[in-house]
Amino acid sequence: MGIVIFDGVAYGMLLFLIAVGLSITMGLMNFVNLAHGAFAMAGGYAAAVAMNSYGWGFFPALALSFVAAALVGGLLEVLLYRRLYRSHPLDQVLLSIGLVFVSIASFTYFFGPSMQPFTLPALLTGQVALAGMEVGRYRLFLIVCGVLVLGALLLLLNKTRFGAMVRASVDNQRVARGTGIPVQRLFFATFVLGCGLAGLGGALSLGMLGLEPTFPLKYLVLFLIVVCVGGAGTVIGPFVAALVVGVVDMAGKYYLPEAGAFLIYVFMVVTLLLRPHGLIPRKGL
């Protein structure tokens, strides 16, 4: 029982890392971005290539994954996303589905359709005793990463001027613009940050989910569930939702393997039935 919850929490942390950027972009600009997983994949591949072909260590590769995904995200924001903030959600859905398709095809072309090979660094292999359980070191590392990122994001959003501006823009964009907050630039910054975090999550998922070109499509629904169930526009919402989704999914895999992914969809539909705006809806809604 304990180990299931532990694994579920580790899985949830991974989902949180990838999805938190999506939550902010959806909350701040109401942009329905289905291509968020593609940025995670870009970061993950950057890390995998750096480690496998250039012999980088695991931790520098993690840093690289953040930078690479942030760069790709920034580039696409300027080229494509920026023009569609005021468009109908259908256009945004189409653009992001198009991006997902193009990314899957290009990554298959350049890196082949198979899963990226990955060996854990010696520091993170094996088990460690914790509260009477033998838990995987890598999963513990994931949880530590998730908590660190959550803490950093909460500090950034609640204690800095930048965070105050972001919160103001999420609550009421027009008034925020009226008081002189550069919403457009702010959005660019949060988008890039969110993509970077997704890239980090993509690199970390090398050791847990595995990375292949269909990654953005395969886990798309999970990321969306995390954002939607948690409530777009917050940090705590996706965190709680990611943990719940991770534990529910993991428990389903352990105890009800024949139900497959069924459980998680039922969970989502029921949650949205009871709370259409998510578990923790943002203020000003």
């Binding site: 959806m26 109401n30 494509l80 589905i97 398709f101 072309y109 969306l224 939607c228």
Partner: protein
């Protein structure tokens, strides 16, 4: 370029010509009748999606749920109960209309993101269900062993797809006429109004939520009918007819043809299926790449698909 003007009275002639051209495929392309039937079915499916997405503006990316449910309903009915085709169509229609109406309560009340999630979620849920219930649906192998009885007891489904084509053509034309009637009625106008500004429609006293629910229900019913036609004409139901990929495909077809236009879905289906057929031996990854590029280009350049292009070439004069 000057738009060619077309008087409104001539439009019905253009429509008749379009359908006659499709029908002439029976004589002109006898080797490709199966493809033609599939084009017609996908066209009808796209029209059903258009009703929900293009006219009513309900953001749905899971419409294959209804297509698949209709296909499985008709397939199972023919396999286990009665192989007569029309009864299967009726059953699929009723099942999907009920399902659509029940789901509409969930879909309509949320915001765009919630609608998107509910529709994707239901589609994935049903797909997972079909995948798990192997004893009923055949799982990943698909539902096999369907044998349809002759249409009206006279015309047997043959290997060349002749009966299949005529049957599909007549049914698609019939349903399309009904859909056309619905969309051109005051109800259809109300949907357009809601699409443009739901707040103002509310203000002038239009029951917005009820209208959207009805539109979603009609749309689901037609999608189910398209699925049933697919099951009957191919005598097979694949698991992919329920999946998210089919949903994305039909969205692409609709966007290619032009959303929010009556003939957008049909035109899109013709072009998409023919091009797909030409490049059938192309590596699926490259196909995906070009489709992705196409989607990005459509969004960035705008223009409303093929129908948007036609609308710029031909200008319809208002009847006086």
């Amino acid at each position: 370029m000057f738009p060619i003007s077309l008087s409104a009275r001539r439009l019905p002639w253009a429509e008749t010509a379009f359908w006659l051209l499709l029908a002439s495929g029976f004589f002109l392309l006898p080797e490709h009748l199966t493809l033609l039937s599939q084009i017609l079915i996908m066209g009808l499916f796209a029209v059903s999606l258009d009703m929900a997405l293009g006219y009513a503006g309900i953001l749905t990316v899971g419409h294959a749920a209804f297509f698949g449910v209709g296909a499985y309903a008709a397939g199972l009915w023919a396999k286990h109960a009665w192989a007569e085709p029309f009864s299967g169509l009726l059953l699929a229609l009723l099942v999907c209309a009920t399902l659509g109406y029940l789901l509409s309560y969930l879909v309509v009340r949320g915001a765009d993101l919630t609608r998107l999630m509910i529709t994707i979620g239901v589609c994935m849920l049903l797909g997972e269900l079909a995948n798990r219930l192997v004893s009923i649906t055949g799982g990943t192998d698909g539902l096999q062993g369907i044998t349809m009885a002759p249409v009206l007891g006279l015309f047997e489904f043959d290997l060349y797809g002749r009966t299949g084509f005529v049957y599909t053509f007549v049914m698609v034309l019939l349903v399309f006429c009904v859909a056309r009637r619905i969309l051109r009625s005051p109800f259809g106008l109300a949907l357009r109004g809601i699409h443009d500004s739901s707040k103002r429609m509310q203000a002038i006293g239009s029951p917005v939520a009820a209208r959207l629910r009805m539109a979603y229900c009609f749309s689901a019913a037609i999608a189910g009918l398209a699925g049933a036609l697919m099951a009957q004409s191919t005598q097979f139901v694949g698991i992919e007819s329920l999946g998210i990929n089919r949903s994305a495909e039909i969205l692409i077809i609709l966007v290619l043809g032009g959303a929010g236009r009556l003939y957008g879905g049909l035109l899109g289906a013709i072009v998409y299926m023919v091009v797909h057929d030409w490049f059938a031996d192309m590596n699926p990854e490259y196909w995906m790449f070009w489709i992705g590029c196409f989607l990005i280009a459509v969004v960035m350049l705008g223009g409303g698909g093929l129908m948007g292009m036609l609308a710029r070439i031909f200008k319809v004069e208002k009847a006086r």
